[in-house]
Symmetry: C2
Subunit: 189 residues, 2 copies
């Protein structure tokens, strides 16, 4: 998206809520830019949903003077790769032993189920213990359906997830695993 | 998305810029809800991109006190249908004779070309002369590439576009034309 001059920069400096997951978000944004510039895939971060209450004017420019953050009911990133619909979310967890499911809104779980049902590819990128994992939607939903635990043990993520390598040029190259989970290639994990 | 209590309603009442295209937007949102509820397709409107500058607190709730609207570089709606990536924008024009290309940002044109290149389906829904048309991305790009005119004549939209019927229950049922333009069926226009 194209912000008016310098606003994007100012935003990153002043809004503390964004810092929580900013490193992982920056890494994924850089990866998506690499994919875009190299014609590999088109993946974008959706704008943060905001409910605007009041709008005024300042130097002939519309300025929002009151608005609230809203909870997303879908995942943060979506786009396409080889014609296929891709949607995912990136999550950090400080826990070394398990990934708390409270990190995912119930609306988002329902949405992941829907994306899979309609033939799309949905997954999470989880940063945990200093490593990055891609946990495919069906493996996430299978855990939630079959287990009563409110967090996914690290052992499950290591067993079912794909560990992603970070590379300075390519970023976090997750798209090669889409070839595997999306059924484009005949590879087994 | 889930707004805090009543904010969405208040937003629609107070923000005039939204009224310009609200009727067509409401019709398309209703159509997408019909598709969602009937398991036909998953199509969402992306949140309006906003650059947040200042955030404060009010009754323990984060409130944005300064932000700007940003220009979108992609299209307003995206999602999936039968596993395929779909992206489109909805545009009204008051002109009876031609659709001004100034309605589409240059970034959006580039994005439409990219979506098509990566195997996705991109199009416009245009309301003109009281009728609704789906103009497929390749037909839009073909016009822009081959013509020097800064607006698309109504005759071109009638010839290359698909007229969409409005139905009280289904809304503006555009998805059946995706079967045609997306190559799922062997139908000719």
């Amino acid at each position: 998206m194209n912000y008016p001059n310098k606003i994007k920069k100012e935003y990153h400096k002043t809004v503390n809520y964004a810092n929580r997951g900013m490193d992982l978000e920056s890494i994924i944004n850089d990866t998506n830019e690499y994919y875009l510039n190299n014609d590999i895939a088109l993946i974008y971060k959706k704008p943060t949903p905001i409910g605007v209450v009041k709008v005024g004017y300042e130097n002939n420019l519309q300025v929002i003077t009151k608005a609230y953050f809203a909870s997303p009911s879908t995942l943060d990133y979506n786009g396409l790769y080889k014609g296929k619909y891709i949607e995912f979310d990136a999550k950090n967890t400080e826990s070394k032993t398990s990934f708390p499911l409270s990190n995912i809104h119930p609306h988002q779980i329902k949405h992941i189920i829907n994306v899979i049902k309609h033939g799309g590819i949905a997954f999470l990128i989880i940063r945990m213990n200093g490593l990055f994992y891609l946990l495919n939607g069906p493996d996430l939903i299978s855990f939630i359906t079959n287990e009563t635990r409110k967090s996914i043990p690290y052992s499950y993520i290591k067993e079912y997830g794909y560990e992603l390598e970070y590379n300075y040029n390519k970023g976090l190259d997750y798209i090669k695993y889409i070839d595997v989970i999306g059924g484009f290639k005949n590879e087994e994990k």
